[in-house]
């Protein structure tokens, strides 16, 4: 059996190690918090008025490059706001008028008019931005970007809430 003094010493060793560990964890936590970017105020709406409904013809794509989105009006009259950032590695996509597809200049992903992937390397559809239609004005909340893993029709917004206008 070890002497009493030895036991005490090993107890203090453990204590020191424990305190040291705690201090280390705290330091890492503090550093990470110091370095983590300030949270953006996602809940504050930043509505951007893109224009009157009638300005956008069916089956058309209007770029808003400074706001980082494309406003798409589908054949059936519905609106989608597609993020300009390629879902692959974040380059800015372009609308190819002739082939009716979005093209990414960086690694040549293609997307359909509603943002679905036609051609790898992208694997997910383009992200969308929320649209609100008020008094015939199409408004986009540019503070929010909704990532999606598959195409859903819920992103499509219609002027007439009950059906397709």
């Amino acid at each position: 059996m070890p002497k009493k003094g030895m036991q005490k010493r090993s107890f203090f060793k453990k204590l020191w190690a424990g305190i040291g560990l705690l201090a280390g964890v705290e330091l890492v936590w503090l550093t990470l918090n110091f370095l983590s970017p300030k949270k953006q105020k996602k809940d504050i709406k930043n509505l951007f008025a893109a224009g009157k409904i009638k300005n956008f013809s069916r089956n058309s794509v209007t770029p808003f490059r400074n706001r980082n989105f494309f406003l798409v009006r589908l054949q059936n009259g519905g609106f989608i706001a597609l993020s300009i950032k390629c879902s692959h590695l974040g380059c800015n996509i372009e609308w190819d008028e002739n082939d009716e597809k979005f093209v990414c200049p960086c690694h040549s992903s293609w997307f359909t008019i509603n943002g679905d992937v036609m051609h790898a390397p992208a694997t997910r559809p383009l992200a969308t931005l929320p649209i609100i239609i008020e008094n015939g004005d199409v408004k986009i909340n540019t503070n929010v970007i909704l990532k999606r893993n598959s195409i859903e029709d819920t992103e499509i917004v219609y002027a007439d809430k009950h059906g397709k206008t």
Partner: protein, 429 residues
């Protein structure tokens, strides 16, 4: 030797002792002098790092780390500052050579079996230095704030997002926000000119100390008879190092004089250039991303290789022959074959992928690279089995071969990315 000469030599040695900070012992084994043992690569890396620090300090006097000021300060440097362009070029080319030389140094340590036993910890320190070298280059890449910088960093930083669970937060932490902007530039600037070089200096001190603790670089075992002769470090080793340093310096200066570091138009966050390429040392990854699902290309493959590299000296029963290139005659043959087959494999894979798999309507598993990946791993495994059973290769020889295959195919992918990818990342010849 006369008394006078002996005294002179002693005095010189004393001065040397102070001057070069005990980097070297007074006497070194004659075998360690052979240039083709180390190719002087570690020393070259050290010299390039010194060049980078000196030119970097100068550049800091002119550079402004804000999106508004950065590009203009570089243009000002090029046009108005005396030797500004030259200093920038030296920094650029030293950085490029640094990556190449550090990587070659790693290869030489691998192929001379210098990672094992009492050098294991130094191999790990070395790997950290490699990661630091890449991080320094990467953070420096953004600073000119031109189109090249902005989009290369955008694309590379976005690769992080594919890491499951942690990816998004890691990206936010690195970029200090959702996309590259003023906070990213400030963070990159601080990392590039503060934290990372500081960490490198500290690790380098550690690295050099460990070399001395291991009694110098690795040398072949003594054959009976030839003995282990030792010679004074001056002039034998120091003159050699000096000559290598001068030649390297001359090459860097001539290239910096003849070729300008690139500077494109000012960064424009709303227009991506076509094609947008990652920095050249990440081009292999970018090529991988074209062919494999990102989980494979940015997570499984790099992590696997890193784990293999870090654990290499600690693998059970690994006992490479030390100080002999490729470990043995057999090892040399295996390595050459591995290098060739690795290269061939990469070329065939890229061509197949480009002209057959992509254009036809195959299953998604083929298109996103899952099946090719499994086939590759199976082939690698078979290769290991054959080396083990048929050729009776040692563990060290087998792993050397595996790493050779990985490195040589990655090299081919990097070359393809740099030289054979044009608009829309289409293959061009």
């Amino acid at each position: 030797m006369t008394d006078h000469k002996v005294r002179q030599a002693k005095a010189r040695r004393r001065k040397l002792n102070n001057l070069i900070l005990h980097l070297h012992p007074n006497m070194v084994p004659e075998k360690a002098l052979k240039f083709t043992l180390t190719w002087g690569l570690g020393g070259m890396a050290a010299l390039l790092f010194v060049l980078l620090v000196f030119t970097g300090i100068l550049l800091r006097f002119v550079y402004v780390p804000t999106p508004e000021g950065a590009y203009d300060s570089i243009v000002y440097l090029k046009q108005k500052v005396v030797f500004g362009n030259f200093v920038r070029n030296i920094h650029y080319w030293s950085a490029t050579f640094f990556i190449v030389v550090v990587f070659l140094h790693l290869m030489r340590v691998l192929y001379t079996g210098a990672y094992a036993k009492n050098r294991a910890s130094n191999w790990v320190i070395g790997l950290c230095l490699l990661l630091l070298a890449i991080s320094m280059n990467f953070t420096g890449y953004l600073l000119p704030w031109d189109q090249l910088a902005y989009w290369a960093i955008t694309v590379s930083a976005n690769m992080l997002k594919y890491i499951p669970f942690l990816g998004e937060s890691l990206h936010r932490l690195l970029v200090q926000g959702d996309e590259i902007g003023a906070p990213s530039l400030l963070a990159f600037y601080n990392l590039h000119t503060g934290l990372l070089p500081l960490a490198t200096v500290m690790l380098l001190a550690f690295h050099f100390w460990k070399i001395r603790k291991a009694r110098g670089v690795v040398i072949p075992k003594d054959n009976p008879g030839d003995g282990s002769r030792k010679v004074p470090v001056w002039p034998n080793l120091l003159v050699r190092e000096f000559v290598v340093a001068l030649i390297l310096l001359a090459v860097v200066l001539i290239i910096s004089f003849s070729f300008d570091a690139p500077l494109q138009e000012r960064a424009n966050p709303s227009v991506s250039p076509n094609p947008a390429k990652a920095p050249w040392y990440f081009m292999g990854f970018q090529e991988l991303i074209l062919h494999f699902h990102p989980t494979i290309s940015v997570l499984i493959l790099p992590l696997g290789v890193l784990i293999l590299l870090f654990s290499l000296p600690y693998i059970k029963n690994i006992d490479p022959e030390q100080g002999i290139w490729f470990l043995s005659k057999k090892g040399r043959k295996i390595s050459i074959c591995s290098a060739l087959s690795g290269k061939l494999f990469a070329v065939i894979f890229v061509l197949l992928n480009e002209y057959l798999i992509k254009s036809s309507s195959q299953t998604i598993l083929l298109k996103n690279g899952t099946i090719p990946f499994i086939v590759f791993m199976a082939a690698l495994y078979t290769h290991v089995l054959i080396l083990d059973k048929k050729f009776n290769a040692t563990i060290a020889e087998i792993l050397q071969s595996v790493l050779t295959i990985i490195f040589s195919s990655f090299l081919v992918l990097t070359m393809i990315g740099i030289f054979f990818r044009g608009k829309g990342m289409a293959l061009i010849f």
